[in-house]
């Protein structure tokens, strides 16, 4: 295996995701790196953030020590509401999700398979307390699912795999994966490299990917 490449930091991964979100999108951001995405939305774009516990038009975190215990996000952290926000109950919130009204959901992952399967809720151990939250609803309903994750686990195992070994969150639902090393699309033919992080080469990514990885598609000549 080649020597350690730096790739993107957590913040840079979040920034890279943010670049791809069109103006006017309705977006649900998962816990962890996905949460950071909101900080890096390019100037001039307006996104509307949904949190499944009943708020559309979620704003940034309040100042340290501020906020209210009954204005929280799905991660149960205190947030704010922007002008033009709306509160609603859980059935209405998941009408938005299941009914295909959200444009994009950004989630973390334990494993993503080349067929778009996602495992992100349970390592399946016998002693684990299973907890799924809204993840299965989000992947089943939201129009596009982006995954943000380190390319490999802390032990160096690939998270992009041929088939998930952990219990699935959803089948064939991931559209794109953003890692510290690369941006990878899930296509009908499997994973396809879209972009490499600075200082990372294709071979380096390939070594750390547990499934076939198609090369970056050459730009089509414009007629």
């Amino acid at each position: 295996m080649s020597t350690e490449a730096t790739g993107w930091s957590r913040e840079e991964m979040a920034r890279r995701v943010a670049l791809d979100i069109p103006d006017g999108s309705y977006v649900n951001l998962g816990i962890g790196i996905p949460e950071l995405v909101a900080r890096y939305v390019p100037e001039g774009r307006e996104l509307v953030y949904h949190t499944e516990n009943g708020l559309l038009g979620m704003g940034p975190s309040p100042e340290e020590g501020g906020g209210e215990p009954e204005l929280i996000n799905a991660g149960k952290k205190r947030v704010t509401a922007l002008p033009g926000a709306a509160y609603f109950h859980h059935a209405d919130s998941f009408t938005m999700i299941r009914g295909g009204h959200l444009d994009l959901c950004v989630l973390g992952a334990l494993q993503v398979a080349g067929n778009g399967d996602l495992a992100n809720w349970s390592v399946g151990g016998p002693d684990a307390i299973p907890a799924v939250g809204g993840a299965m609803d989000l992947v089943a309903g939201v129009k596009a699912i982006y995954v943000v994750t380190q390319h490999v686990t802390k032990n160096g195992d690939p998270k992009l795999v041929e088939a998930c070994t952990f219990p699935l969150t959803g089948r064939g639902i991931v559209d794109r994966v953003y890692t510290d090393l690369a941006v990878v699309d899930v296509t009908a033919e499997g994973f396809r490299l879209v972009e490499l992080a600075p200082g990372v080469d294709e071979a380096y990514v390939r070594e750390r990917t547990g499934a076939p990885l198609l090369p970056i598609r050459e730009p089509q000549p414009q007629p």
Partner: protein, 236 residues
């Protein structure tokens, strides 16, 4: 910047295509988006499947759309309101089909369509002609029928106030089918008497969050069907 305001009713209905399914808000005249319907008549789309609780009255609004023979099929619960004289003629002449749905089943089918629920079981209509040919199933000793979610290519509804995000509040019993139709329409346009700045609506009191709305048209002084009918008006 997100700004769903549309300059005119004509622009709001411009995309409606022949054969489209169109949900139209309102229960009788309450909540009927007359100005959007009239724009749809002008626009000219044909062979529409229209979802509304009724079939309009007089020769304005929904009744005028039916009279202009644009509606191939009505999905409704009660096509027999006072002054509903247009639909019976076209129905008997075989020019407009009718799918009769119990009102609560109609509401639930629309809500299911908007919520990504393809089908559900309901006790309503069991043992009646409207359950004939439908799948029956027993849960806990009671019989139910299977009904399917309903979506539409377009939903045209009427609100009282909206903002540029498409958040909407309604007026009294004019609310009726509008909030659920907003969720079930691929493209939902609301006509409102007033448009306010973001923050001008209480976020606790928003009935339709903007995510369900694709267009907002300002119609400051909407007509009331009963007044038009009383004056003997017709459209166009």
């Amino acid at each position: 910047m997100i700004d769903k305001r549309i300059a005119s009713c004509a622009e709001a209905v411009a995309d409606v295509f022949d054969g489209a399914t169109v949900m139209i808000g309102g229960f009788g005249e309450a909540g009927s988006p007359i100005e959007l319907i009239h724009a749809l008549i002008d626009q000219g789309a044909r062979d529409l499947t229209v979802v509304n609780n009724n079939t309009g009255s007089g020769e304005v609004g929904l009744a005028a759309l039916i009279k202009a023979e644009r509606v191939a099929r009505m999905i409704c619960s009660y096509p027999r309101t006072t002054n509903s004289t247009v639909f019976p003629v076209l129905y008997r002449a075989g020019k407009t089909q009718l799918e009769l749905v119990p009102q609560g089943t109609l509401a639930e089918r629309i809500r299911a369509g908007g919520a990504g629920i393809p089908a559900f079981y309901t006790p309503t209509s069991v043992g009646t002609p409207l359950a004939e040919g439908k799948e029956h199933r027993t849960f806990d000793g009671r019989e139910y029928v299977l009904e399917h979610g309903l979506t539409a290519d377009f939903a045209f509804i009427k609100g009282r106030v909206a903002d540029r995000y498409g958040n909407v509040v309604y007026n009294k019993t004019a609310r009726n089918f509008a909030p659920i139709m907003a969720t079930a329409g691929k493209r939902t346009v609301v006509q409102v008497a007033e448009i306010v700045e973001p923050g001008g609506l209480d976020p606790e009191a928003v009935v339709t969050p903007g995510i369900f709305v694709q267009g907002v048209v300002h119609v400051p002084h909407p007509a009331h069907e009963s007044e038009l009918v009383a004056r003997g008006e017709s459209y166009p």
